[in-house]
Amino acid sequence: MATDDIEITGAEPIEVETAILAARTERLTPLYDAAVKTFVWGFRIGAALLALGVAVALLKGEPLGREADPIAAVLGEVLAGNASGVIDLAILWFMLTPVAATIVAAVSFWRLGDRRYAALSLTVLAILGVSIALALNR
């Protein structure tokens, strides 16, 4: 019985099926590894930005705004050394991490030759793009 480039013989039918599914999952190892790295670094950098923003706010006695700045204004606030800008950037960083994971999934599926799921991942990305476009046009 040959499926997904593996051949298994001499096993019970159910075990064979599970082994095929396990092999199929194993082929996705590059996707899993890339997604884990994206989430780990997304969290680390986001947490570092958040800690930096809170530290700057405490040191400068700067109160946090009751509303996050528009996305277009965030970079200017960061460059001006305002804590609120750094905190807004941290919030946006966290929000963009799953978007990055979706891009990673699309690229990984494409590299693995799985065009269908690469296309589905890009569709998800396009849907998220609608939401991001709304925020950019605030």
């Binding site: 039918p13 946090l64 807004d88 966290f94 799953p98 978007v99 799921y117 849907i127 998220l128 609608v130």
Partner: protein, 286 residues
């Protein structure tokens, strides 16, 4: 030494978020299910700001939680991306309605969701999913496998009824977008009971999905100015710390034994929100 009112407020929000995350983590529901009701009922915070904060918190929680599920292959990326099309679309629709909705509608829907979660918690029955028979069709190649450390064996499964999954996913997305919760409260049982995905794979896949779903929600609330850093920052920190405590407690305490207590808490919050939808505040609430 006196603490400034802003700092006291932040500490209170952080503590509440931690408690919400401990409860959510022990129940596998995520922190948002408790966070929004507590912020609105006890702190008198506008539900739209509470939902916006919760959506960002759910994203952060998913970023942390997904790492472990991906490492141990509980996450099914193909299933996640397929269902995500429906949930993300639903989330945008729900969020677009949520930002303009009468708060009483949000209270009412949230109350109904909590009552449903309480009832399903008491009645929860996990279906034992066996390895797929060899003739199970898998035209979408959604089948996957993971190693279950509890039984020290490889578990293979082929999700069935993907059309139903997409339908439920769209509904979960709308609820998620309106209320700022992850949607796992709907998606995990749907994947397990409807699509015959083992519960560990359902939780792993849902944890990955709720981050993407909540991103769709969070940007819509961001676009309308409903992201308040004075709520979001302490909530992120509180939920992160609470999630760590909750996952440790879960290993020591069998959360299922506390199911009735948790169900009563959910019922209380759900009933409070339903009453609030009619303008009635229970004693001790803001």
């Amino acid at each position: 030494m006196t603490l400034s009112p802003d700092l006291v407020f932040s500490l209170e929000i952080g503590a509440v978020a931690a408690v919400a995350a401990i409860l959510g983590s022990m129940l596998g529901l995520g922190g948002g299910v408790f966070l929004v009701p507590i912020l609105t009922l006890f702190f008198g915070i506008d539900p739209k700001f509470a939902v916006g904060a919760s959506a960002v918190v759910v994203v952060t929680n998913s970023v942390v939680g997904s790492t472990n599920h991906l490492r141990i292959r509980f996450t099914n990326p193909r299933l996640a991306m397929l269902l995500q099309i429906a949930t993300a679309t639903g989330a945008i629709a729900g969020a677009l309605y949520g930002v303009v909705a009468d708060p009483r509608v949000i209270y009412g829907v949230f109350g109904a969701v909590l009552v449903y979660a309480a009832v399903s918690m008491v009645a929860r029955r996990e279906r034992t999913v066996t390895a797929p028979p060899p003739d199970t069709p898998d035209p979408l190649r959604l089948g996957a496998a993971y190693r279950d450390p509890a039984i020290r064996a490889e578990v293979g499964y082929i999700p069935v009824k993907p059309g139903w999954g997409l339908g439920v996913g769209a509904g979960a997305g709308v609820i998620s977008g309106m209320l700022g919760v992850g949607g796992g409260v709907v998606m995990v049982p749907a994947m397990n009971l409807l699509m015959r995905v083992p519960v560990k794979a359902a939780v792993g896949t849902s944890t990955f999905m709720v981050g993407i779903t909540s991103v769709a929600t969070a940007f819509v609330f961001y676009s309308q100015g409903f992201i308040d850093p004075t709520l979001v920052v302490p909530a992120i920190i509180g939920v992160f710390l609470g999630g760590q405590i909750g996952s440790r407690l879960t290993r020591r305490i069998r959360a299922q034994r506390l199911a009735l207590l948790f169900a009563l808490i959910l019922l209380y919050l759900g009933a409070s929100l339903l009453l609030r939808a009619f303008g009635i505040a229970m004693p001790g609430q803001a």
